[in-house]
């Protein structure tokens, strides 16, 4: 295990959840948490409860919707999926993120002058 995990950057969790749902289709909360854990290679420290807070937020915005279904081991579970509005939002957020990341990247590349 890595000693120092990075805190999830404020606001990026929503983006990750949206993108996960976009990429993998309908998933339940546990599945989303696992997927993010897997992708972050255990670097991110994720309070998995916050995934549900994020899901709530996204649902209230109308960017995702949920339906009850059966999980892999046939237990009742709530599956979340992205909506049309969510797709648009994802596009916007990705652009924002790339712009932001680009700026940070450029700033970090600054060499010491003089």
């Amino acid at each position: 295990m890595v000693d120092r995990k990075s805190e999830v950057l404020q606001g990026t969790l929503d983006l990750m959840v949206l993108k996960t749902l976009y990429a993998l289709g309908p998933l339940h909360g546990f599945g989303i948490a696992r997927r993010i854990e897997q992708l972050s290679e255990d670097v991110l420290q994720l309070n998995e409860g916050t995934v549900y807070t994020s899901l709530l937020r996204l649902q209230q915005q109308g960017w995702i919707k949920s339906a009850w279904g059966a999980s892999e081991n046939n237990r009742k579970a709530r599956f979340y999926s992205i909506t049309r509005q969510g797709l648009k939002q994802l596009e916007r957020e990705e652009e924002n993120w790339e712009r932001f990341a680009g700026i940070v990247d450029r700033v970090l590349r600054l060499e010491r002058q003089g």
């Binding site: 546990f30 309070n47 409860g49 549900y52 209230q60 109308g62 709530r78």
Partner: protein
């Protein structure tokens, strides 16, 4: 566009709250179970795995809480909890709760009372009428006049033209705007009832179903063939005819004609005009015979019909007006002598005739503004008090917020409390409104044939409820927002003196506003009360005491002139023989009553064109009129009985007329030509000028002449209280002629309520508003200063311990209140001077910027403020420094 789905999601969630909670919990539990399962697979023990799972998941309770909060915007369950808690808090302080409730109840109640009148006079659609929204009033509009005189009711021929040609209306009905007093001869006994003349299509166009009998038809209302038929008002039928189910087909003797009852109107229906409640309806074509007024139906200059049309499908107000104007021009072309420059006007249908509504709107609007201001003061009071309590509860709020209550939660709690207070007040307000409106109705003079049905209907209740709710939120939100903006750690650690500096500044602003509004209202009240006193002391030019009057109209029975004269001769003789009666006389109408007659007076031989003649008010009188009314005869003499009997062409004039026509000369024996008369009338006497139209008028030239019509007002001077004379008049009238009945029996003192009506109403309403404002403001000032003193007890103790004298303490405390008062007073007077022009037309003998009023209001308010500040200041002076310091 994101709001809508959000709202829908919230609404859905609200409906399924408990299920959602359960499901969400299950979802989280499932997640934890799966996590633990994974850890177990990696080799942890069951308990270790469960712990690890919880660690990785984080605060499950918090997530659940979030989920709940996100969905419960106004969950009914919590609202109920807030309300119960709020009620407990209110019961904890019964004194201040009662003070706020009473203040608010008065404020809301007076507004509801005014609204009751607005509702009755302007809003409430006529009962039992089908789709009243489709009805429009049709008037004629004169291009020359302005104001109330601009709009004219229709003459019968004009009405018929509009009725037969207007395509915008599917039907156009007409009725006599003023119901007429009619003598009902019931088995030999005369009784006065009120008749309304209506067109044959009246009930069908109005869509009023006649439950008993039938409605009128156009055949019933042919001018050439008038049918003596009546439809009875349901209330009249019940009260006076014992709800006789076989009434249809029976006859009633009205003004000497036998009428057949064809129907009884449905209960509740009383025609279109709110203040007019006729006892029965009869066809328009009967008007000539009933009123003994031949030619009324064919005259185009007799404007007596109010007309309402039902818009045809597809028509609207604008198209109806355009068409009516075209029709009016056609009438004008055909009858230029009577209808020159007469256009048409359309009003929406309402409880008052359209043209009159503007004035009622203006007056009730003014009163409404005044009482809303009272309510604003009451709100400021309540807000101040709530704020004081809120800051007293700073610790409570701090603890709740430290325990995790969100700010929204606290604001809601406080707002629920104030709405609860307001609702209590609202209930009391409805009782106040009912009582106050009944009391106000008593001001309506008896000689206005007005019956106002002022019940509190649903609209009034809704209005009151809305005002109440608004009030609660208005006075609750501010303190709630302020009271919850706390830093719990700060409050709990520091034992902070509640209601710090920020709070006191806000309270000062509230208090200043209160004083300003109070000044404004007090100023208006002072003006109106002063004006009422002025009006009461205005000499009307006749005596008010010991005179009884009544109206008589033997002409309505169709009597000949000889029979009319014989009736009056007998009646006069009988009354004169009463030992309690000093004199008896007659006049065609009393001065200051609603009727009036005017003529042009011009000197014989004058070359002035006729329209430059002096306009003179005319009264037709019998001998002894001046003596009976106590009008001083300045020169010359009264008419004699002989002159009266032969209708001599003599006049008595007032001194204003004398001064206008014969300045500096003796008018006795002079001659003047009146109106279109060929011969000139001779002046035989001069009396002192009185008031003829309104109490506030400038001296008006007037003359008295003979030639009385059959309809007269009898005036009887008594030696003692005139009340008994009313009975004598009633009895002697019936003794002389069993078919006759005297109407409008009243003493002149009672009659004066008619000319004094405007002054009394404004004086009473604005006076009440002013007093209420003063009391509320005083309580507000007193409460806030007292509170400030109690908060500063420790500071005052320290000051005194450091050598401050009592006078210094007094100054310290008083200064705060007086600065607020001074600023408020200044603002209020500026506003009052600007606003007082609005009521200048309602004032008698006082300018709207009367300096004495400004001074007295200022002094009164400052004195009240001084007292409000002194009482708490005295308590502050008595602070024992040791006690105050030891408390710490």
């Amino acid at each position: 566009m994101r709001r809508l789905p959000t709202a829908i999601a919230r609404l859905k969630a609200l409906l399924a709250e408990r299920r959602a909670n359960r499901e969400f919990d299950a979802e989280l539990q499932e997640h934890l179970r799966l996590l633990a399962q994974r850890f177990e697979q990696r080799g942890m023990s069951r308990t270790e795995a469960a712990d690890a799972a919880r660690r990785q998941f984080g605060n499950a309770a918090l997530v659940q809480q979030r989920q709940r909060e996100a969905r419960t915007f106004l969950a009914p369950g919590e609202l109920w909890r807030d309300a119960r808690f709020g009620a407990r808090m209110l019961c904890k302080h019964p004194g201040s709760t009662a003070a706020v409730v009473i203040a608010l109840a008065l404020g809301i109640g007076m507004n509801a009372c005014v609204f009751t009148f607005v509702n009755t006079l302007l809003l409430r659609p006529p009962a039992k009428v089908k789709s009243p929204g489709e009805l429009r009033e049709l008037w004629e509009r004169s291009a020359h006049a302005s104001g109330l005189g601009q709009h004219l009711p229709l003459s019968y021929p004009d009405y018929v033209y509009f009725r037969d040609h207007a395509r915008s209306f599917s039907g156009l009905l007409a009725f006599d705007g003023d119901s007429e007093a009619v003598l009902w001869n019931r088995s030999g006994q005369g009784d006065v009832v009120r008749a309304e003349f209506v067109s044959g299509n009246f009930f069908t166009v109005a869509g009023v179903d006649i439950p008993l009998g039938r409605a009128f038809t156009p055949q019933d209302d042919q001018p050439g063939n008038p049918q003596p038929l009546v439809i009875l008002n349901n209330a009249f039928w019940r009260a006076r005819l014992a709800a006789d189910p076989a009434i249809v087909g029976k006859t009633m003797m009205l003004n000497g004609t036998n009428f057949t009852v064809v129907g009884v109107a449905p209960p509740g229906f009383a025609g279109f005009v709110a203040a007019e409640v006729p006892d029965f309806w009869t066809p328009l074509s009967m008007a000539e015979r009933v009123l003994h007024d031949p030619g009324r139906m064919s005259s185009r200059s007799s404007y007596w019909l109010l007309s309402e049309g039902r818009l045809a499908p597809g028509a609207n107000t604008r198209s109806a007006l355009a068409e009516a104007n075209v029709l009016a021009r056609e009438i004008e072309t055909a009858h230029p002598d009577t209808n020159k420059d007469l256009g048409a006007a359309i009003f929406s249908s309402g409880p008052l005739p359209g043209p009159a509504r503007t004035y009622v709107v203006a007056f009730t609007g003014l009163v409404m503004i005044v009482f809303s201001l009272v309510l604003v003061i009451a709100c400021a009071n309540a807000a101040g008090l709530t704020m004081v309590k809120a800051s007293g509860r700073a610790r409570e709020m701090a603890i709740r917020s430290a325990l995790g209550a969100g700010r929204g939660r606290l604001v809601r709690q406080l707002t629920v409390e104030s709405v609860l207070l307001a609702l209590l007040a609202g209930v009391a307000a409805i009782a106040i409104a009912a009582g106050a409106s009944r009391a106000l109705l008593k001001l309506v003079p008896a000689n206005l044939p007005i019956t106002i049905d002022l019940h509190l209907d649903l609209r009034v209740l809704l209005f009151t409820f809305a005002v109440t709710l608004l009030t609660g939120i208005a006075f609750g939100a501010l303190p709630a927002l302020r009271g919850t903006r706390i830093d719990p750690a700060h409050v709990l650690k520091e034992e902070l003196q509640a209601g710090g500096y920020r709070g006191s500044r806000l309270r000062a602003v509230l208090m200043t506003g209160q004083v300003a509004v109070c000044t404004l209202l007090l100023f208006g009240a002072a003006l109106c009360v002063h004006s009422l006193l002025n009006a009461n002391s205005i000499n009307p030019g006749f005596e008010i005491h010991n005179i009884a009057t009544a109206e008589l109209d033997p002409g309505s029975l169709g009597y000949s002139d000889e029979k009319v004269n014989a009736f009056y001769r007998d009646l006069t003789a009988r009354l004169r023989s009463h030992p309690g009666i000093a004199s008896v006389s007659f006049v065609n109408h009393l001065p200051l009553d609603a009727s009036r007659e005017e003529t042009g007076a011009i000197l014989p031989g004058s070359t002035l064109p006729e329209d430059l003649a002096l306009h003179v008010d005319v009264f037709r009188v019998a001998p002894e009129y001046f003596e009976t009314m106590g009008i001083p005869m300045l020169r010359g003499r009264d008419f004699t009985q002989a002159e009266f009997d032969r209708n001599a062409d003599l006049i008595v004039i007032n001194d204003t007329m004398a001064a206008k026509l014969w300045p500096g000369r003796d008018p006795i024996g002079q001659r003047v030509r009146l109106g279109h008369a060929k011969a000139a009338s001779e002046v035989i006497g001069v009396v002192r000028t009185g008031k003829y139209r309104t109490l506030g008028e400038q001296p008006v030239p007037a003359l008295y002449r003979l030639t009385m019509p059959a309809q007269r007002v009898i005036v009887v001077r008594t030696l003692a209280q005139p009340g008994a004379a009313l009975d004598w008049i009633r009895h002697e009238t019936q003794a002389v002629d069993r078919n006759m009945a005297a109407t409008q029996l009243q003493t002149v003192a009672d009659f004066m309520s008619f000319p004094l009506f405007p002054a009394r109403t404004t004086g009473l309403l604005l006076g009440a508003a002013g007093i209420l404002a003063l009391i509320l403001t005083w309580i507000g000032l007193f409460g806030v200063i007292s509170y400030a003193v109690s908060q500063r007890t420790r500071e005052i103790g320290v000051r005194m311990a450091l050598g401050a004298r009592r006078a210094d303490v007094l100054r310290l405390v008083m200064r705060q209140g007086l600065v607020v008062t001074a600023i408020g007073l200044g603002l209020g007077i500026a506003a009052a001077l600007a606003a007082s022009r609005l009521i200048s037309s309602l004032l008698y003998g006082i300018r709207p910027d009367d300096p004495a009023t400004v001074a007295s209001v200022s002094i009164g308010l400052v004195a009240a403020a001084l007292l409000a500040c002194y009482l708490p200041a005295r308590r502050a002076m008595r602070v024992d420094p040791m006690a105050a310091l030891r408390y710490e």
